[in-house]
Amino acid sequence: MKKLNLKSMKKQTREQLFTYTVIIVVYIVVQLLIAAGSMSSLMQGLLVPMCTYSIVAIGLNLCVGYLGELSIGHAGFMCVGAFTGALCTKLLEGTITNKVLLLICALLVGTVVAALFGFLIGIPVLRLKGDYLAIVTLAFGEIIKNIINVLYIAKDTDGFHFAITNGNAIKLSDEGMWLINGAKGISRIPHLSSFTAGIILILVSLFVVYNLVNSRSGRAIMAIRDNRIAAESVGINITKFKLMAFTISAAIAGAGGVLYAHNLSTVTATPANFGYNMSIMILVFVVLGGMGNFRGSIIAAALLTLLPEVLRELKDYRMLIYAIVLIAMMLFNWAPKCIEWRQKIVTRLKKNTGKGAA
């Protein structure tokens, strides 16, 4: 067996291992902090949302950073994942008592259905050149939200009842249970999400995207992004690889949605949580973290989820400060002058440490 040697490893592998290690270290540190009782309830409550948004950002980064297609409907896939996952849990709650198993079932269902929707949307749209995906996904996000708001599904001894727009049409017997109650969404979802589940999901999605990106398919996807005509000329099936990347991206967003739904006891499709603004928010995570940089997406998602809550002390001014901090962070990360300046500082630091060592 070949000895594991960090130096002789490929740069990519080393980078990946580093990311996994950092996440696991953060996980252990957080667990220790919780065990020591030195972490506030607010922070503990934020752990799962941070994981949720990191996962969705990883999914979107695959689409934006590697496929080079803009999607502004990822909240829609999250919504699909959240509702189907929660629906699955509500139905299986009676038969499966093991919480872990229940969450895994919900995750599978949510992910698969979100992937299916991604696939269906991708079939017509990804054949086209240009920004059509952005427009169609935008529409998709809004449509899903509105459909769920008029959808009524209930279950009682007579079986399932469905209604559209008019919930009054359903007359339930006493043991009946609402599954989706129009605008009220799904309520009384068991609390299954945990920080551990979130971290495992992040690791799994990272594993999936890293392996995809560094595989033959991944290189094909990037070739399409960089030059479609050249890619076509060497015989790459454009639609197939685009569909592959987009479907996986949607699936990961769906998994994030499942985690979201099981962290709250109720899930409703409102503009605030699954609307256009949320899609843009996820895009902001990706852009701030760097296109094609999954690690950056996680850090950006975690920081930006944390920021408005940490700024709570500022009351109503916090969203204003939040916006300013966001602009400052964008400039610091991506303005050419800033990058130059950061490099200067880094080289100076290196020189100094070099001198110190000598």
Partner: protein, 396 residues
């Protein structure tokens, strides 16, 4: 190497951020600890927290609750507090979002909250009830009116439940013979609105009213209602029931006037506040009937004193959300006094004690005289119907 460096810096940043928060909470818990320790000597305080939107679309409701609760707390403190203990009050913003509401709840817990008066909006409240049930904290919501809110034993409502409002409205219309053909325009994306609509239609049919049009809109399309109004008009509706908030209602009234359609408009507590809408011709609201537990120009002394204080402090007339919040604080006071609660009780003990006495107390407040509670968490108080005449509410 450059990338490694940047990642390292970033992780360091996250770590310091996390550590910073950890330390802060430590500091907070220490502070709470010293306060608790000082309790035996120089009077501890009851810490009442509240959650609601002070930013975003529903900000007006959250602000009303925050202001009114503050007035009530100040009054109680001036009068000697609850069981001789002063009350500390803290309010957190949730933007009417379930996830942010849970964050706000956790943030208040770090502050040392013992009793929760919130959340203001229904969806957010449902998410929070799950957390209070876990912690055994007593929760009284001023205005989250869905029946899903009170599933857990520790949660009580100061406002009517949605089904109650729908049923009461239909009964009122039928019993007073206001109309026989009614139309409903409601927000299908709002839990509040669709909840009332469902029970209204059910009760209306039972009472022999003819529901000729059930028209909906969503939060995304709430600026033009001409289609809905035209349908109601062509169906010959004599009365249009509006189980919605006043912002949309003011647009509906303006557009109906533009079309020359003048049925009776009948609203519920969400319409309260319509006279304060900016750039709205209040003469259009003449003749609007609404079912609300609170009217700002009621003649009783309690209401007048509250309205005067509110106007002086915040420069506007309080709405029904404010009145419910004001009452809610006094309900907490009444329950705490009945249970003989003290601030040194643990959160869950306090919660259990208050939950146990809630069905026994009776409170006279701004929104009802002799309000009582069922063990399920539902309040029983009589709705009042008022009509808008000459720019003011007049009891019917």
């Amino acid at each position: 190497m450059k990338k490694f460096m940047s990642v390292l810096l970033a992780t360091a940043m996250v770590a310091t951020c996390l550590a910073g928060c950890g330390q802060k909470s430590e500091g907070a818990s220490q502070a709470a600890g010293t306060e608790a320790a000082g309790a035996s000597t120089d009077g501890a305080v009851f810490k009442i927290g509240s959650i609601g939107p002070t930013t975003g679309d529903a900000a007006i409701y959250g602000q009303a609750v925050m202001n009114a609760a503050q007035i009530a707390v100040d009054e109680i403190n001036a009068a000697g507090g609850i069981n001789g203990y002063q009350v500390a009050f803290k309010y957190e913003d949730d933007q009417a979002d379930a996830e942010k509401s849970v964050n706000a709840y956790n943030s208040l817990k770090d502050w040392g909250m013992q009793i929760l008066m919130g959340s203001v909006t229904t969806t957010a409240c449902i998410a929070v009830t799950d957390k209070t049930a876990e912690d055994g904290m007593f929760q009284l919501t001023p205005s989250a009116s869905s029946t899903d809110v009170i599933i857990n034993d520790n949660v009580f409502q100061a406002c009517f439940t949605d089904p109650n409002q729908g049923t009461a409205s239909a009964q009122y219309i039928a019993d007073n013979g206001l109309a026989t053909k009614v139309a409903v325009i409601y927000d299908s994306s709002s839990v509040y609105s669709s909840g009332i609509e469902a029970t209204f239609v059910e009760e209306a049919q039972a009472k022999g009213l003819e529901v000729v049009a059930e028209e909906s809109f969503t939060a995304d399309s709430k600026t033009d209602f001409s289609t809905q109004l035209q349908k109601a008009q062509s169906a010959g509706a004599e009365l249009v029931f509006l189980p919605i908030y006043y912002t949309e209602a003011s647009i509906i009234l303006t557009q109906a006037n533009g079309m020359g359609y003048a049925p009776t408009f009948f609203g519920v507590d969400g319409i309260d506040g319509i006279l304060g809408v900016e750039n709205f011709d209040t003469s259009l609201a003449e003749g609007v009937v609404l079912l609300t537990p609170f009217a700002a120009d009621a003649a009783d002394e309690a209401t007048q004193s509250f309205v005067a204080k509110y106007k002086e402090a915040y420069g506007e007339t309080p709405n029904q959300f404010a009145a419910d919040a004001y009452d809610a604080i006094y309900v907490i006071k009444a329950a705490a006094e009945k249970a003989g609660a003290t601030p040194d009780m643990s959160v869950s003990d306090l919660g259990a004690a208050l939950t146990a006495v809630m069905p026994e107390i009776s409170v006279d407040g701004l929104t009802g005289v002799g309000m009582t509670w069922k063990a399920t968490g539902e309040v029983s108080k009589a709705p009042k119907a008022v009509v808008i005449k000459d720019g003011a509410y007049v009891a019917m």
